[in-house]
């Protein structure tokens, strides 16, 4: 029923990189550039201020007003927390959790998306509707029993206790199904007439054509799992097994008003996802148009 959530994807041949293509006067164009610059300044300023504060000493920060540009660079902020806290462990935990989540999410959603789109099996539609109906359920609705299940499976304070429950997320499955729905049936049938089984067809024909879907799934799953907070906060009970966001929350308590190291660590914690974004930003921005996450 939530299938209606997604607007019809734009057919690819109408993609127009140049917008409406109408001529615009120089003045209008300049005005737009100015507005865009203003927007960027507003949106980027908090990030600039994070960087600026991250190289400030306590003394500098408690002397108001704080200068817009640092006079001395207190790089110590980037070093000290590594010694005091298991920051490297948190980084490693975040990487392991994000990578495991990405691999499993892609595998599960690709295969299930294809099955729901192209193969007939008992209760297919009912099952899909059931899964879709959970699209909007906030994790807080099910966290209490989910927590008990994680405990019963012996996964408390365990990487898998964070990874596995979040695989049950309808977004990726829905995206994958939409993607495969647009696959021409003739192509698949041709493969099967040639004697290939369903699984072989999936492996040989379908997967190689799924790269755009895989890219989008990888990027978004990585971003979501990297940034996830509430579920790891519940499952991870030992400061050595924290992920970066949970560790950051720990640091807030430890550094309280000593914002320098806190913001230095905040910046380091978002750096990986910023790099991924910088490398694949085309997929982030254009991929939305292609795959129907929109």
């Amino acid at each position: 029923m939530t299938a209606q959530l997604m607007p019809p994807a734009a057919p690819e041949n109408t993609v127009q990189p140049e917008g409406d293509g109408l001529p615009q006067s120089r003045r209008v164009r300049t005005g737009r550039v100015v507005l865009a610059v203003l927007g960027v300044v507003l949106l980027m300023f908090p990030i600039y201020w994070m960087l600026r504060t991250s190289v400030a000493s306590v003394d500098e920060l408690s002397t108001l007003p704080v200068r817009m540009w640092p006079r001395q660079w207190h790089w110590e902020n980037y070093v000290a927390p590594w010694r005091q806290f298991p920051f490297a462990r948190w980084l490693l935990n975040s990487v392991v959790i994000a990578v495991a989540s990405v691999v499993l999410t892609v595998v599960i959603n690709l295969s299930a998306g294809y099955a729901f789109a192209k193969l007939r099996f008992p209760f297919r539609n009912v099952l899909f509707l059931l899964i879709l109906s959970t699209l909007m359920v906030p994790v807080q609705v099910i966290m209490i029993p989910q927590f008990q299940i994680v405990i019963d499976l012996g996964l408390l304070n365990n990487t898998w206790g964070v990874v596995l429950p979040r695989l049950a997320e309808a977004f990726g499955l829905f995206m994958a199904r939409q993607f495969f729905m647009s696959f021409p049936d003739e192509l698949l049938e041709a493969a099967r007439v040639d004697g290939a089984g369903h699984l072989r067809t999936f492996w040989k024909i379908v997967l190689p054509l799924s790269k755009p879907l895989v890219a989008v799934l990888v990027i978004f799953t990585f971003m979501w799992r990297w940034n996830e907070f509430v579920w790891p906060l519940i499952v991870l009970t030992d400061s050595n097994s924290y992920t970066l966001p949970v560790g950051l929350q720990f640091l807030i308590g430890q550094f309280s008003t000593d914002f320098g190291p806190l913001l230095a660590m905040s910046f380091l914690s978002i750096l990986p996802v910023l790099l991924v974004f910088a490398a694949f930003q085309g997929y982030f921005v254009e991929g939305v148009a292609r795959t129907g996450i929109k």
Binding site: D59, S62, L64, F147, Q148, I151, L156, N157, I234, T237, D238, S239, Q249, F250, G253, Q254, S256, T257
Partner: protein, 444 residues
């Protein structure tokens, strides 16, 4: 060097009705109270245990030092695991739920009985002589027992007084601060001081209370200073609808409405005044003795600061703080855990811990002792005197099983009252009473 007015302090703590005889106060002085029986306090142990705690860096260092000494003396290792203060309770709860509890954990006196009542803590009777508890202040030993069975050991206590910025006081023309408990500011004098601070326009809020989250009960200082109370003597009836309680509430709120209290320092959010005081954005704070080392480390030479007694109204009053260490039912190595708990509170170790961390001992044989506090010992003297003003009725309430619920009632209701000018005293009394009654009912 320092003396605690033992008579009144012991009186305050001796509220369980057991009473403190002078004879009970004197142990053999070696710090080893329990001897013989199963409760072997010497001999080699094997295995390891984990103690989960929160703490300032001085506290953690002291715990680790004691763990190392334990390893040397008894052969068993104890791992000290540190968690953030505002998460320790939920993390311990979750691990209990998952059967992954640490062997020992540090817990405030106000929380012990909540855990004990749900069966989470181990009965340590077999590791302790029947007379073991006599070594401690009765009220605090009582807090560590359920139905007479010990579940842990009392470790330290702490209390609140006022820390102030000497530069700011000078700038505001406040030349004298009370140097004796009897000369503590009255509420009126206190407000005058705050007004002077405000008028001096130091770019800072004059004052802030330390009643955030699990410390919400520290507001009871104010309540008891004016003769109010939370519960009646039976601990069954809420006694907040009284002129005294009204006066205490209105006094607290008036500090906010007159701009004398830092407006963003409230009850629910973990914004602790001791974090802000070193930035000179607040001129005076109500604060705990255990924060002296970290305050001193943060302030260094930036400005001079001192400590004076809490203000008083019809009487003086300060809160019962402090913590014990308990052994869990799920502990894998109960013997090591229990022995470490006992080791932690020997006379020698308790002395060291208190001296390093700026906290007050809870052994009867240390109440009278001179401690060589490592940091600002002259300030500790104020806290020790202040500790004698813990009202016995408040101590009794503080160790009741329903107290976590009472504290939560304050967390849930006070912000609204203090931050919203249109919120009335009637409504907050109603809210508090309803929440506390709910907490009492849940315990019954």
């Amino acid at each position: 060097m320092l003396h605690l007015d033992r008579r009144s302090f012991v009186k305050a703590m001796g509220v369980t009705g057991i009473g403190v005889t002078l004879a009970a106060c004197s142990t053999d002085g070696s710090g080893e109270v329990s001897k013989g029986g199963k409760a072997a306090s010497t001999g080699k142990l094997s295995g390891t245990a984990t103690l989960t705690t929160w703490g300032a860096s001085e506290e953690i260092a002291a715990f680790k030092k004691i763990a190392a000494a334990f390893k040397a003396a008894r052969g068993a290792g104890v791992k000290i695991e540190v968690l953030p203060y505002d998460q320790i309770r939920t993390v311990i709860d979750r691990r209990l739920q998952a059967n992954q509890a640490p062997d020992l954990f540090r817990v405030s006196y106000t929380d012990v009985r909540g855990y004990a009542a749900s069966g989470a803590l181990a009965d340590l009777s077999e590791y302790m002589d029947p007379s073991y508890g006599n070594a401690f202040l009765p009220a605090l030993w009582g807090a560590m027992t359920l139905d007479g069975k010990p579940v842990g050991v009392p470790h330290q206590t702490d209390t609140s007084a006022l820390a102030y910025n000497k530069q700011h006081f000078q700038a505001a023309g406040i030349t004298e601060v009370p140097s004796r408990l009897e000369g503590a500011w009255t509420w009126e004098q206190f407000v005058e001081v705050l007004k002077k601070l405000k008028a001096a326009n130091l770019g800072a809020a004059p004052f802030a209370f330390n009643y955030q989250l699990f410390g919400a009960y520290r507001w009871f200082n104010t309540l008891y200073q004016t003769g109010g109370s939370v519960l009646d003597d039976s601990l069954k009836k809420v006694t907040l609808d009284t002129p005294q309680a009204r006066k205490a509430l209105e006094f607290t709120k008036s500090l906010y409405t007159q701009g004398l209290h830092a407006p963003s320092v409230l009850v629910k959010r973990p914004t602790y005044p001791d974090d802000i005081f070193p930035t000179q954005k607040i001129s005076m704070i109500q604060t705990g003795d255990f924060l002296i080392p970290s305050l001193e480390a943060a302030i260094k030479n930036k400005f001079e600061w001192g400590v004076t007694y809490l203000m008083r109204d019809t009487g003086a009053a300060t809160d019962l703080g402090g913590n014990g260490v308990v052994v869990t039912q799920q502990a894998k190595n109960k013997e090591v855990a229990a022995e470490f708990a006992k080791f932690l509170v020997t006379k020698e170790n308790m002395t060291m811990f208190c001296e390093q961390t700026g906290e007050l001992p809870v052994r009867k044989d240390l109440v009278n002792a001179k401690l060589n506090y490592a940091v600002r010992p002259e300030l500790m003297a104020v806290f020790q005197k202040q500790a004698t003003t813990m009202p016995s009725a408040l101590v009794k309430v503080s160790t009741a099983p329903a107290f976590p619920g009472i504290n939560q009632a304050l967390v849930d209701n006070m912000d609204q009252y203090l931050s919203n000018a249109s919120s009335t005293t009637d409504s907050v009394i109603q809210g508090l009473t309803a929440s506390i009654e709910k907490a009492l009912k849940a315990q019954a």
